[in-house]
Subunit: 231 residues, 2 copies
DNA sequence: GTCTATATGTTGATAGAC
DNA sequence: GTCTATCAACATATAGAC
């Protein structure tokens, strides 16, 4: 009906919406490729092809290739908030349960072959040489640590955790143990991954809570507390 | 007669020795540059310039740029052995001391601004996209885990550690907590690094050994065991 | 063994028509 | 906003003289 080329709206989509759509398509394609091949190894040409647009168009939406990565990243910057929300709302949940939930968040977030997981790996890798990214990662890391830390402090105040526990060390140790495991087991297939990571997460929390030392032999025997069964 | 193919010694250095020297010079220059800028961001031209030889010569000694990285890497592949040696010889040392020694090894090995540290970071990063490197890292990681694990198993057998402790999880958790900390604190200057990492290492080992839980209130009060003082 | 010169390809980014 | 055409720079790797 309307003459094409003349009007700003084609059907129900305005030019601006169309633009936003292509921009998103570019971001999505870039994410896929970065995750698969890394940042440096992915060319703008390839991104354009995957997105189904011309190469020059990329630079209209993103002035530089790095901006593309940053755009993609900011879009997925939710992880820190997720953890913070989880650790903040902890009414009545026992420590063990709460920490297992935290670990579970990592299990489901950093599962192999998930887009976000691969993005995280690319970011960690690229942050080495791109200071801007390094700072960004550093900030989210600190956010996560801080939420865990303040949660732990609350539990210390309520005498559920040792009074001489260093919450900062405890938080960082736990986070490190989780992240490192998940990062080094990406080669597993999803089934094996789920099984192993759940088992690891649960036992790690147990270790973290109870420690590794053998219990000093006390007078009475058989007084050992059986651990909560389940799973 | 002076056989052209036979001798060729200039002064006291043979041609072969000269060649080995330049090859080493190339490896050293490559290591420096890779550590500083990453693998992909370092050009063969730059390496040649730094080493003070022509660019073409690189490919005489190393068929491809990746071979250069692998060469550099294999040269520094001693870390796994270091840990193994440390954990194997543990006569009479108490668990806490032994684990603190292990942590200390990480502190001194992964200090910031050390060449090896930066190489490790580059390798971790590059392993993402280069399968060959990924396998290599995976193997050394397993070596390290295995030595720690078998040490822990021995301590379990001698009832110094909990009988229901999972040595694999314990080893991986400890390693992860250490590596992750050191990798995420590279921005610190050497002084701050030493202070913080020592403190972290010590408290982490303590946490790992004793756990985080508050001691259940027993009948008698004041019976809490004071922690070993020192440092 | 080492150099110079060059092949061959790709890269990120720009200019201008539509 | 999108495309086509093209840029200069730089990449890794090779060939052949010395």
């Amino acid at each position: 009906m309307t003459t094409p080329g003349r009007t700003k709206t084609v059907g129900r989509i305005s030019r601006a919406e169309q633009a936003r759509a292509t921009k998103a398509k570019l971001a999505s394609a870039a994410l896929d490729l970065f995750a698969k091949q890394g940042f440096a190894a992915t060319s703008t040409r390839q991104i354009a092809e995957t997105a189904g647009v011309s190469e020059g168009l990329i630079f209209h939406h993103y002035p530089t290739k790095l901006d593309l990565l940053l755009g993609v990243t900011s879009h997925h910057e939710v992880f820190g908030l997720k953890v913070r929300a989880l650790m903040t709302d902890s009414k009545g949940v026992p420590v063990r349960g709460q920490l297992e939930a935290l670990a579970q968040t990592f299990v489901s977030t950093l599962a192999p072959e998930r887009k976000e997981t691969m993005l995280v790996r690319v970011l960690l890798s690229e942050a080495l040489t791109t200071p801007e990214l390094g700072k960004l990662l550093h900030r989210t890391r600190e956010t996560v640590i801080a939420s865990i830390e303040s949660y732990l402090q609350a539990r210390i105040d309520e005498e559920e955790l040792r009074s001489d526990l260093d919450p900062s060390v405890a938080a960082q140790g736990l986070l490190g143990a989780l992240v490192w495991f998940f990062l080094t087991h990406q080669h597993l297939n999803p089934r094996a991954w789920r099984a192993q990571s759940r088992r690891y997460a649960q036992r790690l929390v147990d270790l973290w809570l109870r420690g590794a030392l053998a219990e000093p032999r006390l007078s009475s025997s058989g007084s050992k507390v059986r651990r909560g069964a389940s799973e």
